[in-house]
Symmetry: D2
Subunit: 151 residues, 4 copies
């Protein structure tokens, strides 16, 4: 699907917002792609993100997926709006071993108030094929007239 952003400055708005998230720093996450309705966040696995078997904790992967889905929706919102997660559902298809987790989000529906976004977490090691390790379907809410800036 192809989307036209409501605000031409959407990419900077996403990047500024991302930079304010302490949680993204804790993950060591980086924003790889910011396009209208399509965002990719990459995380490198490390012990601080691990569950009891050494894999990435499903909640830490969810943190990256939720941010990717939120920004995919946010990229299509007007400049004076902010985004809130209403709900998400995650299916875990395989243990997230890493070393790299690529979290892709694509908007399925961009409504005035409600957006639906699909996320996928793919694992790769720099060579070889990627492996799908998790899916997300998320509902995002557009908060009108409250620009998403601090201060």
């Amino acid at each position: 699907m192809s989307f036209v952003p409501a605000d031409a400055g959407y990419a900077q708005r996403v990047r500024d917002n991302f930079a304010r998230q302490g949680a993204m720093r804790t993950l060591g996450a980086s924003l790889e792609v910011v396009e209208p309705g399509h965002v990719v966040i990459v995380v490198r696995h490390k012990p601080e993100l691990a569950q009891q078997h050494g894999f990435m904790h499903a909640g830490m992967l969810t943190t990256a997926l939720d941010s990717a889905c939120g920004y995919a929706a946010f990229s299509l919102m007007p400049a004076e709006a902010s985004v809130l997660s209403v709900e998400f559902k995650v299916n875990l298809l395989a243990p997230a071993q890493g070393p790299w987790l690529r979290c892709e989000a694509r908007v399925l529906k961009a409504g005035r108030t409600i957006s639906v976004v699909e996320g996928r977490a793919l694992q790769h090691d720099g060579g070889g094929p990627e492996k799908l390790v998790a899916t997300m379907t998320a509902t995002m809410f557009t908060v009108q007239g409250r620009p998403d800036v601090q201060g």
Copy 2:
């Protein structure tokens, strides 16, 4: 609902497992209650867990909820089993401001292979009433014959 644990040493098994999670240390989470089919994890909010408005990131809250739900199911499993999250769904009812988030999990169904667990995240400030900020419904899988220990 009241459950009889299959393994009398369930509480120690949960605590040992919790201690091995790097993600729980990153959250600064603590295990407050470990009973058969009922687990409570408490997290104190801090900037490292924050999203762009300073609230606790929904994914970080999910990390605590998923662990609480996983341990609630794990507490009822035989000694030689380990637990895997199949999927979870989270609804976000209010921003998680903290300072304390109490994540409670209760088993709804403890099957031989599949368990269903309900989680609630309640926010409190040491005084005043608690406020429900998120719910989880999770499906957990019993991995038979693979004790959940390292080494």
Copy 3:
């Protein structure tokens, strides 16, 4: 939780709406309880609702649960509003054999735009204890200024 309805005529509004649903007639469903934020719909199992093993099809049970959740939210909305399902998630805990399925819904959060509702399907046979066979968590949307009546 206890709620005060925005519209004193909420119960009649729910009953009129229910009576217009062809799907409720197909199920043979009846409205048993209509209280502020709390609705119960009862369905009797029959072959027209069955899946391949003779149990009630999960989707047919979902039809009753979704309506119960929608009406629980609708009972708290202003008179000039209508309700839409944004999403729901259903966990199936046991086969729904019947003969009676009691679908209970309770509002967890009643927002101006978004409500979150929890549903439970309990099976009973007129005697003996009820058995939990399914859970739902649903997000409902308030459509303002569009009364839910036919023209």
Copy 4:
């Protein structure tokens, strides 16, 4: 993704199973595609499936989506297995007006015990483009050694 079925007779097994569902007759549903890991079910809207505004009830659409997802998983199972829905989540993107609803399901992961399947409901009127009205993500369970036949 491309799958090799465990049982060469998978298509007949799906068709026989479908024919035993009273719920599919109530919907007037038909099986349009049965391929390994990929099933399409088509439903024509009618008043018996409607909610209060005349659109197809989300639960009735869920009935078709759940069956499509279940059969997509079932098509990859061994001959002596049967399928159970563990859980599903549905997002509703637009009212399902019909007249035709095409419910497509594709397996994302086919595990020995757990399969994950993605469903999409597309609305079309015989001409014009299709419109995405709902998504499902479902978890399906393989019941080993219990062939899915009656009698």
